[in-house]
Structure formats: C-alpha cells, structure tokens
C-alpha cells in the first residue's frame, strides 16, 4: 500500500534559500575587505605618487573569481549530505545549487562593476585616470554593460567550476579530485585569460572589434557554463554518500 505524506515547501527553494543565505554572508565579508583594501591601496599610491591613474578596484577581479569558486567547493562538501539526509533528493540539490551559484555569479559581477564605475567617477572628479591593466576585455572606455556581461560570465563559470570540483571530490575521492583539476578548473583559467588577446596582435578571429571579442568570450563562457552544469548534475545524481559521516 502506498501512502502520501503531507505537502512541504519546494525542496529546491528551501535549500536555495539556505545556500543563498550562506553565500550572502560570505559576500558581505568579501566585499567589505575588498573595498577597504582598494581604498587603502589608493591612499597609499596617492601619498607616494601624487595621483592614481589606474583602477585599483579592478584588481579585485581575480579574488572575486577565486573566492566564490572556493565557496562552491565548500557548498557541495557541507550541504549535499545534509540535504539528502533531510529527506530531499539529489535532483533538487542540483537545481538549488545551480540557481544560487548563477545568481551569486551575476551578483558578484554587479557589485564589481558598480565599484569599478564608482572608483572611475571618483578618479574623474579628482582629475586622475582609471586605466584598466587587468587581463580583461572591458577597458576603461568600455560600457558598464560590457563590463557587467564579461564579469558575469567569468564569475558564473568560476562558481560552476567550484561546484564541479566539489562534486568530483565527493564522488571519486581526493586523488581523482586532484588529478582531474585540469579538467574541472581548466575551463575557468581559459576563460580568465582569453581576454589577453586584446594585448596581442593575432590574425584571423582575434583581429576583430571589441564587441566581437566580447561576443566570443561570452559565447565561450556560456558554452563552458552549460557543459559544467550538465556534468555537475550528472555526477551528483549518481553520488552515493559515504558509509559514515
């Protein structure tokens, strides 16, 4: 005889709220530190050189990529087991994790873009430049939309890469998790350094417009994100929990 149990809130939404709250707490801490560091660095550079003609805030790009990446690994390690033990399926965990990590990626990109633009406005007001020396496509003349789009793709891929690394470690153990890092993290590194093409003179597809570069990077990023999400889902749906916690 089969029986039903009482209704409950959507497991995907339930876990997404929990994961979202955890990531939001860490994001506040991260951005507070990033802003303090950027302001401090700017003040020091101003005292030393008299003016600051480069964007300091943009150097947060690497940290804003790798920090949430590491949180993605932690998220799988800390929450998947509890999610299943609480009577929810792997399927709903996959949905919740992907939803939250994509949103977090866009959120980090939005904050990053806003801070870079704010810094640029301050530099303009002080008569300073705001040259972007970081290896990214969006330079100091790029629109806010272009910068947001490029950073969003990078951050989303970073977060999905973190989930993927976490899933491989959980499913196959430490050795396999480490040995497959070129596969699980490689795409993120590729995406981070593709923008380097704007500093070199290459023929063919590379000698295109800024918009072309952006479209290429975004296209590659979206494909990478889709593949990573699919592999993450496939790994987690077959994942068996260890005999003892």
């Amino acid at each position: 005889m089969t029986t039903t149990v009482a209704a409950r809130p959507s497991p995907t939404a339930h876990t997404a709220r929990r994961l979202g709250a955890a990531l939001a707490t860490m994001a506040w801490i991260f951005w507070a530190i990033a802003v303090v560091a950027a302001v401090t660095a700017t003040l020091v550079a101003w005292r030393v050189a008299g003016s600051v003609d480069v964007s300091i805030m943009v150097y947060a790009r690497q940290a804003a990529t790798w920090f949430p990446f590491s949180l993605g690994i932690m998220l799988v390690a800390a929450y998947l087991r509890v999610h299943i033990a609480s009577g929810m399926t792997r399927r709903t965990f996959v949905r919740a994790a992907l939803l939250v990590e994509v949103a977090a990626g866009v959120g980090y990109a939005a904050v990053f873009t806003a801070l870079v633009l704010l810094e640029r406005a301050v530099h303009d007001a002080l008569g300073w430049g705001a040259v972007i020396t970081e290896v990214q496509l969006a330079d100091e003349y790029a629109s806010a939309g272009a910068m947001l789009l490029e950073m969003s793709v990078t951050c989303v891929v970073a977060n999905l890469s973190g989930l993927l690394v976490g899933a491989v470690y959980q499913r196959f153990g430490a050795w396999a998790g480490t040995l497959t890092l070129p596969l699980t993290v490689g795409p993120l590194v590729l995406l981070l350094y593709i923008p380097g093409v704007r500093f070199v003179d290459l023929p063919g597809v590379w000698t295109t417009t800024a918009a072309g570069h952006l479209a290429l990077a975004v296209g590659v990023g979206v494909v990478l994100a889709a593949v990573m999400a699919a592999v993450f889902a496939a790994l987690v749906r077959r994942l068996q929990l260890a005999p003892a916690p």
Partner: protein, 308 residues
C-alpha cells in the same frame, strides 16, 4: 495533501552491497512490517548502517531491489521526505547553530513537530545557540534524537543514536520514543548494541551477521525460543540432545546450556523429573550466542570487516 499513515513497510529482495572487495550486505531478503518498532541488531561490521543507508537512499545497492512503502527510494520525491535516517553523529550543518539546523531540517520534513522538538531540546538540555561542532559526543547524539523523533517520518531509522549519552538520557530517549510512537504510530528501525536496554521497546527483531540476515521475526516469539537448561551435566546433555544448542557453560558438575527452539508438551515435566531448571534467556544473551563467530564460523572473515 495529507494522509494518515501508520508507517511505511520495507522490503529487500536479493540486496547485495559491496564496498570494493568488502561485501557489506550479501543477498539480503527482508521485510519490515509497517507500524512496528524493529530492532536491527548485529555486531560491528554486520551491515546495519549500510542497510539504513540503502533505505534512506544514501546509497544504491550493488544488486537487488529495495522498496520503501512499495517504491524504490532512490531519488524518489514522494518517498524521500518520509524516510529519516539518523546516523551516529547526525548529518547536520556543523557550523550553524542548532536553531538554524532545526529551521532547515524542519522545512524539509512535512510532519516535523516543533512542539516535540522544543520538549526534547529542553529534556536533553541543548542550547539552541550552540553549534553541533561545539557539542560533546553525547549532546550531538541527543540532537540526532531530537531530529529523528521530531521529524515524525513514516520510516524512522535510528542508528546507534545513543552513543555518548549517559544512562538517564538514554532512558529519557527510550521513554520519549515510546510516548511519541504511541501517539503517532510509524515504522521505527532501531539499531543498538545496548540490547538489554532497548529490548522492551522492540516488537520485531532483525539480526544481521556478516551481511546476512540471521534472524527476522517478532521479538516475543524469539524470546520464547530461547531456553536455558541448568542442572547435572549428564541430565542436561540428555535433555538437550537433538536440540539447537547455542552455548554451554560448566561449573563443577553443573552445566548451563542455552538452546534455541520452543519447548514442546512434556518438556517441562521431563526437565523437572530430571532435576533440571528451565529459564528464559535474555535477548542479549541469545544475540551473543547466535552471532558468536566460533559458532557461526568465519571468524577470520569477520576480522577483515570494515565499519559498515
């Protein structure tokens, strides 16, 4: 949608679970009756935790079929919320307060009782502001009990949840389990090494030995099957001849033998005439004798077991 349920039944058909070369469960066929408290007994490494893991869809069997309330529990949206498997230290958010843990776990359990959770937290003197990672072993176990009972899942599996608990807390747990079970009947599978303590709770008993089902029957009839025969050695030997002898102890000319198998008409009279004393055998003694590696063989194989 809500439906009244008295608990979910469990069926295992030819279930085998391997971890590499180690066979944790070996071609297990088993039925757990819905609406009962079933004791899952077995020595370390007998496969108890693995069995719980399969029922809660923590794992998929290497071979065979697992059915919970008639369906495969693996990635089953209907069955998953109705199965609560509490392992030794619990699967909780270690770095969040107990309050946050209760909020998260309760949101996933359709029958979760905040009232019962509150009572149990108070009973075990658990501070909601503390984090599981900061709790002692006993307090961690107590929180696992809170989660397991307050979830009121139609199939609740409690795997050694009393570890580290002091005696008063253990007895408080047994009383709370019985009281809530009486008010909200469900299927409870209780795994424990403290057989003498949990014996009074059990309606059915499953004994696992090296991954195989040794016994699966109701506790009352199992208790009735164990008889101790005490008296002069020759008379005891004569009386137990042809019976399933589980253990024998000798002290001088007196022998005490434990046999399995219900007494038949006339046995009591024969024993009395031979000067023998017949007595019940506690479930724990039966368990110890039945799973004695010397008796069941394979002691060497047992030694290579893992925590399963």
């Amino acid at each position: 949608m809500t439906a009244t349920t008295t608990g979910w039944g469990v069926e295992l058909h030819g279930v085998t679970q391997r971890y590499g070369d180690v066979v944790a469960l070996d071609d297990v066929a088993l039925t757990v009756r819905p609406g009962t408290i079933t004791g899952l007994l077995g020595r370390n490494g007998s496969g108890k935790s693995t069995l719980g893991s399969l029922l809660a869809a923590f794992r998929r069997p290497t071979a065979g079929r697992v059915l919970v309330d008639g369906e495969d529990p693996w990635e089953n949206e209907r069955v998953a919320p109705g199965v609560c498997f509490v392992r030794e230290s619990g699967d909780v958010l270690d770095d969040y307060s107990l309050k946050d843990n209760v909020a998260y776990l309760s949101g996933a359990r359709p029958h979760f009782s905040h009232e019962l959770a509150g009572e149990l937290l108070e009973l075990f003197e658990l501070d909601l502001k503390r984090k599981p990672s900061k709790l002692s072993r006993g307090k961690k176990s107590a929180f696992g009990i809170v989660v397991g009972l307050a979830s009121r899942a139609p199939l609740t599996i409690l795997d050694e949840v009393h570890l580290g608990l002091d005696a008063p807390s253990r007895y408080a747990f047994y009383d709370a389990l019985l009281a809530d079970y009486a008010e909200h009947p469900r299927t409870v599978v209780l795994s424990s090494h403290l057989i003498d303590e949990v014996e009074r709770l059990l309606e059915d008993v499953v004994v696992l030995d090296r991954g195989r089902v040794l016994i699966a029957q109701d506790a009352e009839s199992l208790r009735a099957e164990g008889v101790s025969v005490t008296g002069p050695t020759a008379a005891v030997a004569d009386f137990v001849a042809g019976r399933d002898v589980l253990a024998t102890q000798r002290l001088g000319g007196t022998t005490q033998t434990t046999v399995r198998g219900a007494l038949v008409e006339g046995d009591a009279r024969r024993a009395r005439e031979a000067g023998l004393e017949l007595g019940p055998v506690p479930l724990q003694d039966l368990f110890v004798h039945l799973t004695d590696p010397v008796r069941t063989g394979g002691a060497a194989a047992h030694a290579q077991g893992v925590d399963r």
